[in-house]
Symmetry: C2
Subunit: 231 residues, 2 copies
C-alpha cells in the first residue's frame, strides 16, 4: 500500500473510531438515562427491548466495523490480522443474534406482532447474509481453505459483499431508530423533545460511522484510481 493512500485510509479510520465512540455513548444515554436501563428479565418489558438497540449498535455494527477495519489497519502479519478479523466478526454475529432475540422476547412478552415491519425483514435478512458471508469466508480463507486461485478470485467479491451487508446493517439501524421513535411519539413523546433530537442525532452519527468505515476500506482504491489515471 502506498504512503499517501495509507495516510488517507488512516484518517478515515480515526474518524470511524470517534464516530463509533460517540454512537456508543449516545445509544447508552438514550437507553439508560431516557428509557430506564437494560434487563434480560423484568416485569417492565421496555427494559428488555432496550437491550436490542444497545447490542445491535455496539455489539453488531461497531464490533463489525472494527472487524472490517482491523484486517487493513493492524500492524501484524496477514495471518494474525485474518484471525482477528474472523474472531471479531464471530463475536459481532453472536452479539447481534442475542440482540435480535431480545427484540423477539420483548414482543412475545408484550403481545406485540413479530416480523411485520420493514426493519424486521431487513434485519433478519442482514444477519442471515452476514452469517452466510462468515461461513463462506471461514471455509474459503481459514479452514479448510480454498486453493490460491479460488482465494484470489473470491477476495474482491468477499470484500464487496461484506460492504453490501454492512451497508444493509447501517440502513436497518436507521429504520430501527425511526421506527422506535415513531412509536414513542405516537405514545405521547414530544416530536421536538431532547430525546427525539438525541435519537435522530444518533442515527446521523451512525451514518457518518458507516461512511467513514467504508472510506477507510476503499480509500487506497480511490488513490489508486487517481494514480492509474495520471499515469
Amino acid at each position: 500500500m502506498k504512503g499517501p493512500a495509507r495516510a488517507k485510509s488512516m484518517v478515515f479510520f480515526y474518524v470511524a473510531q470517534m464516530t463509533a465512540a460517540a454512537a456508543a455513548v449516545m445509544v447508552l444515554v438514550w437507553c439508560i438515562n431516557f428509557r430506564g436501563g437494560l434487563a434480560f428479565e423484568s416485569t417492565n418489558k421496555s427494559l428488555i427491548f432496550n437491550v436490542h438497540p444497545v447490542l445491535m449498535l455496539i455489539g453488531f455494527i461497531i464490533m463489525g466495523s472494527e472487524a472490517m477495519m482491523c484486517y487493513r489497519v493492524l500492524p501484524w502479519s496477514k495471518k494474525a490480522n485474518k484471525l482477528i478479523h474472523l474472531v471479531v466478526h464471530g463475536i459481532a454475529l453472536v452479539l447481534g443474534a442475542v440482540g435480535i432475540s431480545a427484540a423477539f422476547k420483548f414482543h412475545n412478552e408484550s403481545g406485540i406482532n413479530n416480523l411485520y415491519s420493514l426493519h424486521s425483514w431487513l434485519g433478519l435478512g442482514t444477519i442471515s447474509l452476514f452469517a452466510i458471508q462468515w461461513i463462506l469466508g471461514f471455509i474459503t480463507f481459514f479452514y479448510p481453505g480454498a486453493s490460491m486461485s479460488v482465494r484470489a478470485t473470491s477476495l474482491p467479491w468477499h470484500a464487496l459483499f461484506g460492504v453490501f451487508v454492512y451497508l444493509l446493517a447501517i440502513a436497518t439501524a436507521e429504520l430501527g431508530f425511526l421506527e422506535k421513535l415513531t412509536f414513542l411519539e405516537g405514545s405521547g413523546l414530544y416530536r421536538y423533545s431532547p430525546e427525539a433530537f438525541l435519537v435522530n442525532s444518533t442515527a446521523l452519527v451512525v451514518i457518518l460511522l458507516g461512511a467513514s468505515v467504508v472510506l477507510s476500506l476503499i480509500a487506497p482504491h480511490v488513490e489508486n484510481t487517481k494514480i492509474y489515471n495520471a499515469e
Copy 2:
C-alpha cells in the same frame, strides 16, 4: 473497458432496469389503487401526500439511477453522454424538489409538524448534497470547466460522492416507506395486510435497485482488481 468487465457491468444494468420498472409499478399501485390516487390540490389531503412517494421514487431515485448509469452505458461520445448525465440529473433534482414540496404541502394543509423525523432530516440533507454535487459537477466538468489536472483529480471523488448521495437517497426512501406504513398501521391498517406486504416488498425492490445500480457502476473495478491481483 475490457470485454468481460463490460459484460458484467451490463448484466447489472439490465437488472437495474427491471427492478426500476418493478419499483415504479409497485409505488403507483400503492398510491393509486390502495391510497386513492394523486392530486396537487384536493380537500382529501392524503392525495397530496401520495405525490411525494411517487415523485421521490420515480422522479428522483429512478431518474437519478438512469442518469448515473447512462454516463457509462450509452454508446455515444463522452461529451454526449456527459450532457445526458447532467440533464437527466437536473430533471431528477427538479422532480425531487417538487416531491418534497408535496410533503410540506400535505403537512401544512393537514396541521402536521414539519422536519421532526429522521426521514425528513436525511431527505433534506440528501437533496441538498445532491444539489451541491450537481453544481460542482457542472462547474468542474461542463461550464466553465476546470483544468484537465483538476478534472482528473476530481473525477473519482465526484463518482464516490455521487454514490454516497445515491445510497443516502435509497436509505431515505426506506425510512419513508417504514414511516408511512407505521402511521397507517397506527391508524388501523392490518400489519399483515396485502398493502403492508406491498409497501415492504417495494422497499426491498428499491434496495435491489440501489445494489444493481452501484454494481453496474463499479463492476469493471471489481474485474480490474482481479486482473491486477492475477498479474
